[in-house]
Amino acid sequence: MNLSLHPLRAVIALALLCLVPVLLPGYQTTLATLTLIYTLLAMSVDILAGYAGRTPLCHGALFGVATYVVMYFVTTATGNPWLGALLGIAAAGVVALIFALLAVRTTGVYFLLLTLALGMIIWGVCQRWTSVTGGENGLRGTVRPEWLADPARFFYFVLAITALATFAMWRFVNSPFGLSLKGIRESESRMRSLGYNSAQHLIIAFVFSGLMAGLSGALYAWFNGFVSPSSVALAQSVKGLLIAIIGGIGTLFGSALGAIIIVLLENVVSSFTQRWSMVLGLLFVLAMIFTPEGLLGKLRQLTGRRRAAA
């Protein structure tokens, strides 16, 4: 939000991120790549949850659809990885459109539950359609273009894509269209009486958010070289939402903070204690009590830079 006033800040952040493969080489770079991918997923959730006031629980499924399509297209159908990635993102967009048509007229907990159910359908299909999805065992293989085989280069590539997508999402939520989403969040009936087609606006936001989730899913396929039903399961959707909430709903950039925390907990804290998921749970509870506006939201509040969000 304030970033438009400080393009300098974006440049500094990017420059710092460019140093990651130099300062934290090897495995840590891999973790940083993963963090960027989850940041994208969480930001796509934030578009709906933070700006349109509709909290979705299906973005893991949209993410996973793209991952599955990339894996299938490249390994089983031996297609081109770049084309596969585009197809994966498109597939996520199409699924998001179908979900949107079914879900946008509901609000609150009904929206949450409906998107949850729709996501579970995708999970069920991946689980049972063994001939295509490999069932419980999933699909395996190297799907990353050879040009990106080097982990550092792949990191820079993901960083560039994430920066572009972040810019696109930031433009999206701060455009007049984004304002209309915030209007719908605050009072849908008022927006309707002002003549806005709120359903149409929500569908567009949903599909855009789905495309972004698909983008992160396609990058994940390249990153992981493996997909199984756990990538489309509810836990994945919850992870996306959790990252957005810890970082700060409706802040977009908070997702990066959230993703750093979750990835560190999963991969570093887990080496010290088996009970890392308990640490995660505690952290979440504490975050809800002390900073319900999320880490970035709290930071902005503390530094007095927080503007009225609406």
């Binding site: 080489p25 090897g26 063994t130 419980e136 065992n137 999933g138 395996r140 199984s228």
Partner: protein
Amino acid sequence: MDRRKFLSSATSATGLAYFGDFERAFAQGTGPIKIGLLTPLTGVVAAGGKEIVEGFNLYWQQVGKKIGNREVQVLVEDDGSNPDVSLQKARKLTEQDKVHFLVGDLLANTGLAVAEYAKTSGIPYFIPVIAADDLTQRKRIPNVIRVAGYSASQMPRPLADYVFKKKGYRKVITISQDYTFGHEQCGGFCQVFTELGGSILAQHWNPLNTQDFSPYLAQIQSAKPDAVFAMETGADATRLIQQWNNFGLKAKIPMLGAQNATDQSVIRTLGAEAEGIISSAHFAEGNDNPATKKFVAEYETAFKHLPSIYGFSHYSCAAWLAAAIKTINGNVEDRPKFLDAVRKTVLTNSPLGRPVRLDDYGNPIYDVYIRNVVKRSDGHYWNVPIETYPGVSQFWTYKPEEYMKQPPYSRSFQGIKKS
């Protein structure tokens, strides 16, 4: 963290592609042997995962955490019963902790994900309970070896032979978890059973973590089979056996189990419900062989419960690897030599009390026991051998080359011979 940072920045100089060679030059024969143990400490199969750690560490404690003059370090990572997590942890152990080789995983999907990583990264990976057939058959990976493990379809074949010939069963229904491990165990059973002349009336596939088996039980009851073959692991096995008993089917239809259905990890939480279930496996904790008795007693003293297949397999795996590493004087950095030593090792001091060796495809050949669940004098239930099938390989009586021409077992291919 300082040590890790140092190690990782040191390796970065050479890049990931040269990691193997660099590592060899860097740490030849000095420093501890680092083993990465992947195991589910959370998630659906967490109970089994804890026993993996127990069994594996028990061996190293008994030998003083040393092979020759090299210290042994076991780094345990939780795979969360989830293939994505498992893959991530395999990367961490290999690239950050610089382990010399990986061991473990419980669920087939987690093991397959790590096997794929082992294939591309070259890290040796040993799988004492990952039973997916093709890892030692059609899709062998040279650096993935089933040390002290077994392939899924290997174990139920003697059981099919036994119940057809000795029990006179002709019509059987299978109920199994719907994933590769289940498909393969049922496939092994069904192929042998139908080739002998038996028939499979129906096959039920329940999703992992099924809470309520009643729809399946009703169908099984109305089909009136001679017996039912149950392929369930963990909590699913417990629930099926309990509900089987609650529905009053225990008295009517005999239950046959895949080895994991009556594994100690399952039946120690059950009582008389499990009594009399016949299964087949290479390990039976109720065997009166002195080596087995000694192992079971030691295990019980250490952990206050009887060893399961998970604990036993990882104990044996540790013993196997230790024997192999001794023959190459601890030089695990030389991967080809190390893998070769593991393949050639014949394990003589295993809890089975009989020598075990690998076949040409990297899968062990075992004497397989037909086991019955009976009550021990102290009230615990355990598996006691009632018959032995010596020298059972993963190919049963088939010729390996010909066997591997048939498709792998799946839901749609169960090797059922139409009579």
